[in-house]
């Protein structure tokens, strides 16, 4: 018996299930591509050529692949910002707003302390970014914990407020002499380091490490156990002496801090400048990705990758096929629809 079959017999259930799930997801995504192809065909574009373009521009070259990873970074982090609160039953739809506030706080650091060396300035910006996101998440978290307003509603409302605060700050104080819709470019010390001559920045490490920490905390620590207890039955958890409202506030704030970090990573690692409306639904994408992945770290990485391929490919579709960039959202939505609907003909077992 070879080693491979040995492992197979060792973990028959796990292997089979993982394989089934992988095949199922692949089929679903193929189906979504098929439907989007139909839409392309109807609008008079060549779907095969378009897909060839999307794939060759994203996975076909080292540069394309690196761009996919770059697009994936904020999604990884914002998805985690949803996954953690969801473990205690909190629905954080406010990633978008928390991301903006984190970016604003980090920008404040970058502009005010621009003379500091990078080893001091970057950690400061990270802390500020997380503080901004946490503050924005504290509002829904606190209101929920005292039983006043549902956190879904509050965080949604605050999503609409945050970009306007950014606009106020940029127009009022931070805009560069040349341009009123963005700040001056950050100094080199305020930029996250990039790797291998690509645009992949340290934010990737933030995301992956945080996901790993999340997994470890949930699996091996007392906090993880208590959070799972709250998530499955908050009243029972409270009667067992778990400080429920404290957990709700703190977990929501940590979720917000993570989303704020995503904002910091975007302005410091990707743009190098704070732009008006720079996020373009990243927070909502994080929510979708987290939900599709069932809040599992590995799933978040995989789904972020798929979504990043789609959104990155959209850029090329715009250039070569003369389609509005937003059209790629159709492909994204089809993928989401198919996964959400879990059609029976993929023989998926409903969880």
């Amino acid at each position: 018996m070879s080693k491979l079959t040995e492992t197979f017999t060792h973990f028959p259930v796990v292997r089979q299930k993982a394989l089934q799930a992988a095949v199922r997801y692949l089929l679903m995504i193929l189906f979504a591509f098929l439907m989007f192809g139909l839409i392309l065909l109807i609008s008079g574009k060549d779907p095969l050529q378009s897909y060839k373009d999307i794939l060759s521009s994203t996975l076909g070259s080292a540069y394309g692949f690196s761009e996919v990873i770059v697009a994936m970074i904020p999604m990884l982090i914002t998805a985690l910002a949803v996954a953690l609160p969801s473990r205690v039953g909190l629905i954080n739809v406010g990633g978008e707003g928390q991301l903006y506030l984190g970016a604003a706080f980090a920008t404040f650091g970058a502009l005010t302390f621009s003379s500091l060396p990078a080893w001091l300035l970057l950690p400061l910006m990270v802390l500020l970014g997380m503080l901004g996101g946490a503050l924005w998440a504290f509002i829904p978290g606190y209101l929920k914990s005292i039983g006043l307003v549902n956190e879904t509603i509050t965080s949604l409302l605050l999503n609409s407020v945050a970009p306007k605060i950014i606009g106020f700050l940029i127009f009022g104080f931070w805009h560069s002499p040349m341009d009123t819709v963005k700040t001056a470019n950050f100094v080199a010390a305020a930029r996250l380091p990039t790797f291998f001559g690509t645009r992949i920045h340290l934010g990737l490490v933030f995301g992956l490490v945080l996901l790993l920490v999340f997994w470890l905390v949930m699996k091996y620590t007392r906090w993880g156990l208590e959070m799972r207890a709250i998530g499955s039955n908050p009243q029972a958890a409270r009667r067992n002496g778990i400080p429920l409202s404290k957990y709700l506030v703190i977990v929501m704030c940590i979720g917000g801090a993570i989303a704020g970090l995503a904002g910091m990573a975007q302005v410091s690692g990707f743009y190098g400048v704070l732009l008006l409306n720079f996020s373009m639904s990243l927070g909502f994408m994080g929510f979708m990705i987290c939900w599709l992945a069932g809040g599992e770290p590995l799933g978040i990485v995989l789904m972020s990758f798929v979504v990043a391929v789609i959104t990155t490919g959209g850029n090329l579709l715009q250039l070569t096929r003369d389609l509005p960039y937003a059209v790629i959202n159709i492909l994204l939505a089809f993928t989401l629809f198919v996964v959400l609907a879990r059609p029976t003909f993929f023989k998926g077992t409903k969880s």
């Binding site: 106020f168 159709i330 939505a333």
Partner: protein
């Protein structure tokens, strides 16, 4: 600050508030049946773009409005299929619908960017005929504006004074109990979503065909989310939705007024007032909010098989 500028601001508030009120009413119906639609933004965009395209092609705004209404109902059917038949998470399904709307509307509307259309005829508000022309031009409204308040009353009557409305609210409160008393929760939720979607489509039609009379990508600029907030603000009640839409567009108008009178306040900060006001009202109502939200809002009806 002149009377004219105040009236001008008021008039623009009425124009922008109308689509908001239609959209809010549509969402009230859906949420009363227990379905949250976070994808309103997408529904609005698809309705607005398809209605505008048809108006441009056919030359008839009424045909365009009809198409908008249908498009709204059909978009909501996607949400219905996912959230009712496939029992998917409502929030996630709604957001997926929003992304779909972003894309589809951009595709539909692309050939019509910058095009002009013949809009609805505007009629002078009765009783203002004697005013000078500069004033009376501010009181010319299209038929959709005159209809919006009666429609709100109609929805109130449907929800609170008919058997259909009773069934719909029962499903929103507790689908299992409604099922036990002989109603079909799935069918009722589909009906509610379709009716609600048609109203959202009407709101979108007013936005693109009657008010702005053009199509630009992402022209709704957050109206969908405002409507979701307004539904809560109005405690899931169609008549209070009128107040909500008035307060919201009034706040927007007030902010325009401040700007026109030269008060130095950042327009960005003023833009946040309506949202913060909604939040404050929610907090003030905090305690008794539980009694007004449909009890099984957002929950999946698992069925009884």
């Amino acid at each position: 600050m002149t009377i004219l500028s105040i009236l001008g601001v008021l008039s623009s508030a009425i124009f922008s508030g109308t689509s908001l009120l239609y959209t809010t009413l549509g969402e009230v119906i859906g949420e009363r049946a227990g379905i949250v639609n976070l994808g309103l933004e997408g529904v609005l965009l698809v309705s607005a773009s398809s209605g505008f395209a048809v108006t441009y092609l056919s030359g008839s705004p009424y045909l365009g409005i009809l198409v908008s209404i249908l498009a709204g109902g059909l978009m909501n059917m996607i949400l219905g299929y996912l959230a009712i038949t496939r029992k998917a998470n409502q929030l996630a399904s709604g957001l997926a619908l929003m992304f779909f709307g972003f894309g589809l509307s951009a595709l539909i509307g692309k050939p019509y960017v910058g095009e002009k259309i013949h809009s609805l005829t505007r009629y002078l508000l009765p009783g203002t005929t004697g005013l000078p022309r500069v004033y009376s031009s501010l009181f010319k409204f299209d038929i959709l504006i005159y209809l919006v308040i009666p429609v709100a009353f109609l929805i109130w009557w449907l929800l609170f004074r008919t058997r259909w409305g009773l069934g719909l609210r029962a499903v929103g409160e507790n689908a299992d109990t409604a099922y036990a008393s002989g109603r079909n929760p799935r069918l009722i939720r589909y009906q509610a979503l379709f009716a609600g979607g048609m109203l959202v489509g009407l709101g979108a039609a007013h936005l693109s065909i009657a008010y702005t009379m053009n199509w630009t990508e992402y022209m709704t600029a957050g109206r969908g989310f405002i409507a979701v907030a307004l539904v809560i603000f109005s405690k899931w009640h169609p008549l209070r939705a009128i107040v909500g839409a008035l307060v919201f567009s009034g706040a927007v108008a007030f902010q325009l007024l401040l700007q026109s009178s030269g008060v130095q306040v950042s327009p960005f900060l003023l833009d946040t007032i309506p949202y913060i006001l909604t939040l404050v009202v929610l907090i003030a109502w905090g305690g008794n909010r539980k009694h007004s939200a449909p009890a099984s809002l957002g929950r999946v009806y698992q069925g009884s098989e």
